[in-house]
């Protein structure tokens, strides 16, 4: 069934969009990522103009993260307090990120810098996570108790301590604020929600339990993407409500299924799958940079970068 999208100005198959939304929704519910990094190229591929794809996807992520958060709330695996602290840092970070982005843009070749940065960053995070999870899994399968990740380091000696009951942490608010800020900067520069940077950061830097991380990440993604949606809708008028609706119907259902799969998996398994996903995105991006493209020319709106 073909549907003509009022803002994107193309006809697309409605069932294809429902399916795409569903797949990304499952990942979202499982890993606590928005899935924008996966959805953007898919939407480009079916012919949605880039500006519309980016804006509309933010709106769809609001829906799937909200659906996922509700499922996690029922299981009490959302640390709302931590989410709010990360959010506060995130807002400062995005403000800073936009300044950095404009500075890079003035230098030229911002796209390239972002991509190279991305590849290096994702490669490093993915590999570290993969190795760590495999080791943990191997130790536990040998019957030994898994080596407990270091819970006390310099991070725990900072002032302004706060109790995060759901995560079982009593730490200073400075690290979560900094993590939120760093992710905010990256998200603004790279134009993504930052879920798949936030999740590893919460696990390894803040030492939060993997199960709580997913719900908490989704919680803060809602606010980031809701803000992005409003920004795109009011400045660029590129949010396509019909496209969003089709994607989010699949997305909210997918998120519910994903959450259920997620709770059945062990923390190490979940981390391995996440690591594989991060690495896959990294490989895909490096291919884009290294392989000879089939079409050497690209069309863009005049004046835009």
């Amino acid at each position: 069934m073909l549907i003509y999208l009022p803002i994107a100005e193309v006809s697309v198959n409605a069932f294809l969009l429902l399916g795409l939304g569903g797949i990304v929704g499952v990942l979202s519910g499982m890993f606590g990522v928005g899935g924008g990094f996966l959805m953007t190229p898919l939407l480009f591929f079916i012919g949605i103009p880039p500006a519309v794809a980016v804006a509309t996807e933010a709106n769809q992520i609001v829906a799937s993260s909200f659906s996922g958060v509700l499922a996690h709330l029922r299981r009490k695996t959302v640390d709302i307090k931590m989410g709010l602290v990360l959010q506060a840092g995130g807002l400062m970070g995005s403000g800073l990120g936009i300044l950095v982005f404009n500075y890079l843009k003035a230098l030229g070749q911002v796209d390239l810098l972002v991509k190279i940065f991305y590849v290096v960053f994702l490669g490093a995070i993915g590999s570290l996570m993969f190795v760590e999870s495999i080791n943990t899994l191997r130790h536990s399968s040998k019957g030994r108790t898994p080596a407990k990740r270091r819970k006390h380091n310099w991070v725990h000696n900072l002032p302004f301590k706060m109790k995060f009951r759901v995560s079982g942490l009593y730490i200073s608010v400075i690290p979560p604020l900094l993590v939120g800020m760093a992710v905010g900067v990256l998200a603004a520069i790279m134009g993504v929600g930052g879920g798949f940077i936030m999740v590893p950061a919460m696990i390894y830097l803040l030492g939060m339990p993997t199960k709580v991380v997913v719900g908490t990440s989704l919680f803060q993604i809602i606010f980031v993407t809701a803000f992005t949606t409003m920004l795109h809708a009011t400045t660029n008028h590129t949010v396509d409500i019909a496209l969003a609706l089709l994607l989010l119907i699949g997305g909210v259902i997918g998120a519910q299924i994903g959450t259920r799969i997620g709770v059945k998996l062990r923390a190490e398994q979940l981390r391995i799958l996440l690591a594989i996903m991060v690495l896959a995105v990294c490989v895909k991006l490096s291919f884009d940079l290294l392989l000879t493209p089939s079409e050497l020319f690209v069309l863009g709106a005049a004046g835009g970068h």
């Binding site: 390239l112 949606t229 809708a233 969003a244 519910q256």
Partner: protein, 251 residues
């Protein structure tokens, strides 16, 4: 006698300047884009009116072009630098139609001379304007633009698809794909003899969104805040709905 002269002069004056003239018909004079728009086609037909004074030098030809709204576009070329592919040179095309179709009654070189093509901007490469291109070999950029848009089904050339019967009646059908944009589609019909344009007819076919498509589009432009909030409300409602439905299923 003098009156007769005057009448004759008036008659001569009232006569059309052209000996052969186009009379046009369209199967539809507007295209409506609805929510289930899957593309459309317009039947363009007409006749050639003659006053008997025409001189026959060369074969008759009919060329029909349909052009979507023209917008400026940037074409970028990727280049390999230090082993990675980056966007390098760019060429600004001043006006490229969002859609362009050319249909002819015979081979292009027979129905249209190069100089006439230049004068009337008929073929694809002439219809795209790119003055002030500074990059060397800017033709390859316009070629790329044509190639990319042709692959998307937006630019097409149909040689010999205009039926010309008895050198008097002509008709062709132009397909509009489902990914066309809104706007006024300029339709031109050229009548040629021996490759020289002897008459030209122009008309506009408006392509417009209707119903819910139009409503949503207008709202996104005119009431952006309300539109954004509506999008968010739908997202939150859907998220809650799915969660509630799954919770109900588990019980």
């Amino acid at each position: 006698m003098r009156i007769l002269h005057l009448l004759l002069a008036a008659l001569l004056f009232a006569m059309p300047a052209k000996a052969e003239e186009i009379v046009l018909g369209l199967s539809q004079d507007e295209v409506a884009i609805t929510a289930t728009f899957e593309g459309s086609h317009i039947l363009i037909f007409g006749a050639i009116k003659r006053d008997g004074t025409e001189t026959i030098d060369g074969d008759l030809g009919v060329i029909i072009t349909v052009s979507g709204p023209k917008t400026p576009i940037t074409v970028r070329r990727k280049e390999r630098k230090y082993g990675i592919w980056v966007n390098a040179d760019a060429v600004e095309v001043d006006a490229a139609p969002s859609f362009y179709a050319v249909a002819t009654s015979g081979p292009m070189e027979e129905v249209l001379k190069e100089v006439e093509d230049l004068r009337h901007s008929v073929t694809m490469s002439k219809a795209i304007r790119s003055v002030g291109a500074k990059v060397e070999g800017s033709e390859s950029f316009t070629e790329a633009l044509i190639r990319i848009r042709s692959d998307a089904g937006l630019y097409s050339t149909f040689i010999g698809t205009v039926d010309l019967e008895e050198d008097t009646l002509f008709r062709t059908s132009i397909d509009l794909p489902s990914n066309i944009t809104e706007g006024n589609y300029e339709t031109r019909i050229f009548l040629t003899r021996g490759g020289v344009v002897i008459d030209e007819y122009e008309t506009i076919i408006p392509v417009e969104k209707v119903g819910i498509e139009r409503w949503l589009y207008r709202m996104a432009q005119d009431n952006a805040i309300l539109y954004g909030l509506l999008s968010l409300a739908i997202a939150i409602a859907a998220g809650w709905g799915a969660s509630a439905a799954f919770a109900a299923l588990r019980r």
